[in-house]
């Protein structure tokens, strides 16, 4: 395996050490545990803290999003493993003096089980922590079963928009309610092009033929709509958007926030070409585009591929999307 790392067992700790050193103006280790990364400056008690626990190996998400306007803390699991409920609960406890706390959970079974356990532990100590389970990947469960879907790149809309809303002093009910609206209006579909290498095993994460792509693969190589021959970008994008349009009822005049995410080794050049094709598709249906996001944010190591997420937005969402944030690795 050709990864620039030291001891295999310390990958996550070495990475976090580098991260906190390099962005010490905005983030720090929590005092209790080096797997919990917090904002440098704690906020007043009236702010509802927003936290998430997630497996690492997908950087910059979520550790790169700690800071003003997004996350208050990130609980960092091992590579591709959700952190334990115990550890998430440690993170929650940091904010126990706040009247309520929001735990985001991306819908993957390890994340959900451990997140729910953490919430139960908080309840046992009379800490008011609520969770919001985020899902968006249309390849992972059919229309009608939305809540079964995996959390994909579209969860980004939740992080950013609720992050901004909570800075404005919204209470937990308002956060949960807008969060639900965002989830209901978000659709994501991804494509895998080439496998990344697992830093644990040194093996390729999945296999794919030299002339194939895989539509709908999850961030850990989970399956979706299946393999097809590679085609020009325009064809792939319209295949994908047709699927998304089958799943969600867009109307002429809708204002959509698009997010084109790169999985690791796909180039910004390709992501911009994809966006160009996406814009042409949406404009055919008279759907307006609002301040898109295009870059590598949710990666699976050096995998080749990308995803398209669309948020059919309300005015409130759009306003909050544009609110300034100051985190090391999220930039509109």
């Amino acid at each position: 395996m050709k990864k620039i790392i030291n001891n295999n067992l310390n990958i996550v700790d070495d990475m976090l050490s580098g991260y906190v050193k390099s962005h010490s103006d905005r983030v720090k280790f929590s005092e209790i545990n080096k797997r919990i990364i917090c904002r440098k400056n704690k906020k007043q008690l009236s702010k509802v803290p927003i936290l998430i626990g997630n497996g690492s190996g997908h950087e910059p998400i979520a550790v790169g999003w700690v800071g003003d306007g997004m996350l208050d803390a990130n609980i960092v699991g091992d590579i591709f493993s959700a952190p334990s409920g115990d550890l998430i609960f440690e993170g929650i406890k940091i904010f126990k003096d706040h009247s309520s706390i929001l735990l985001l959970i991306s819908n993957h079974s390890g994340d959900v089980m451990n997140g729910e356990m953490a919430i139960e532990m908080a309840e046992d100590e009379n800490i008011n922590a609520k969770c919001l389970i985020m899902y968006d990947d249309i390849a992972s469960a059919p229309k009608g079963n939305e809540a079964q879907r995996r959390g994909g790149a579209g969860t980004t809309f939740v992080y950013k928009i609720l992050g901004a809303l909570s800075e404005k002093g919204a209470d937990i009910e308002q956060l949960l309610s807008l969060g639900k609206q965002i989830i209901d209006n978000t659709r994501t579909l991804s494509v895998a092009i080439s496998p990344g290498t697992s830093p644990i095993t040194g093996e390729k994460i999945f296999t794919i033929e030299e002339d194939e792509i895989f539509i709908g693969m999850g961030v850990h190589g989970e399956s979706g709509y299946g393999r097809q021959k590679i085609q020009p970008s325009k064809k792939i994008i319209s295949f994908m958007l047709d699927k998304i349009f089958d799943d969600f009822n867009y109307k002429s005049g809708d204002i959509v926030i698009p997010f084109v995410n790169g999985s690791g080794s796909s180039t910004l050049m390709e992501l911009l070409i994809i966006f160009n094709d996406l814009e042409e598709y949406l404009s055919k249906y008279n759907i307006q585009i609002f301040k898109p996001l295009i870059n590598e944010y949710i990666t699976t190591q050096d995998s080749g591929g990308f995803s398209i997420s669309l948020l059919n937005s309300s005015e409130e969402m759009r306003k909050l999307w544009l609110e300034p944030s100051s985190v090391p690795y999220f930039h509109l």
Binding site: G55, G77, D78, I79, F80, S81, A82, P83, S84, G85, D86, L87, S109, G110, M113, N114, E116, M117, S140, R150, S198, I200, T201, E203, I205, G218, H220, G221, E222, S223, G224, G226
Partner: protein, 203 residues
């Protein structure tokens, strides 16, 4: 009792260490390729904990500590679910082995089902626990040979199952044709457990 747990966990850790790459390969085929490393990390954490610390009050608090350590170091789906058995074993009673094992199994099974939203036949390590639990009830005693045979059968059976939990449920193949990696590691841990029980009984 604590000595029993230490021996069993130490042995399990040894055998898992010999097999973890094989388990990774199973998880590579139908998951994200890390289960061998994950379960090994958990067991090594446990072993090094009781090698370097000596003051443990009682079996319950000992296994509470161990299961929490394992859960934290493993993380993921398997960390939270596989350590349930370890925690329940805190109540194992060497003076009433058969009954306390039955109770441990039935509590473990219930808790895995609840937390994991999983049923028998969903292709998970639950597909090992449930048949062993039945076997224990049917035999009305702990018959090592029968149990080992049952574990092997149950493990082999997971190969034929379609995954309805875990990452394999998202595969086109639903993981059919591949042994469930969690079931594989569980088969090792349970075999070592019953071997150690057998040793206890023969002492």
């Amino acid at each position: 009792m604590i000595e029993f747990h230490k021996k069993w966990i130490t042995n399990s850790c040894l055998i898992i260490k010999e097999n973890y790459q094989k388990i990774n390969m199973l998880d590579q085929e139908i998951g994200d390729g890390d289960h061998g490393t994950t379960i090994l990390r958990g067991l090594e954490e446990a072993v090094s904990h009781f090698r370097t610390n000596n003051e443990f009050n009682n079996s319950v608090s000992f296994m509470n500590e161990i299961s929490k350590l394992m859960r934290v170091s493993m993380g993921g789906a398997s960390g939270i679910l596989m350590t349930i058995f370890f925690k329940e074993l805190g109540n194992l009673n060497l003076n009433d082995l058969y009954n306390s094992i039955l109770t441990t199994f039935s509590n473990t099974i219930t808790k895995i089902q609840t937390r994991g939203k999983v049923k028998f036949g969903d292709k998970s390590f639950l597909d090992i626990y449930i048949p062993i639990h039945k076997e224990l009830i049917e035999n009305n005693l702990i018959d090592l040979d029968k149990i080992i045979k049952k574990i092997d059968e149950s493990l082999e059976y997971t190969k034929s199952l379609e995954a309805r939990v875990g990452r394999a449920k998202f595969l086109d193949s639903k993981g059919v044709g591949v042994i469930d990696p969690g079931a594989y590691s569980t088969s090792i841990i349970l075999k070592e457990f019953f071997k150690e029980i057998n040793n206890e009984e023969n002492n």
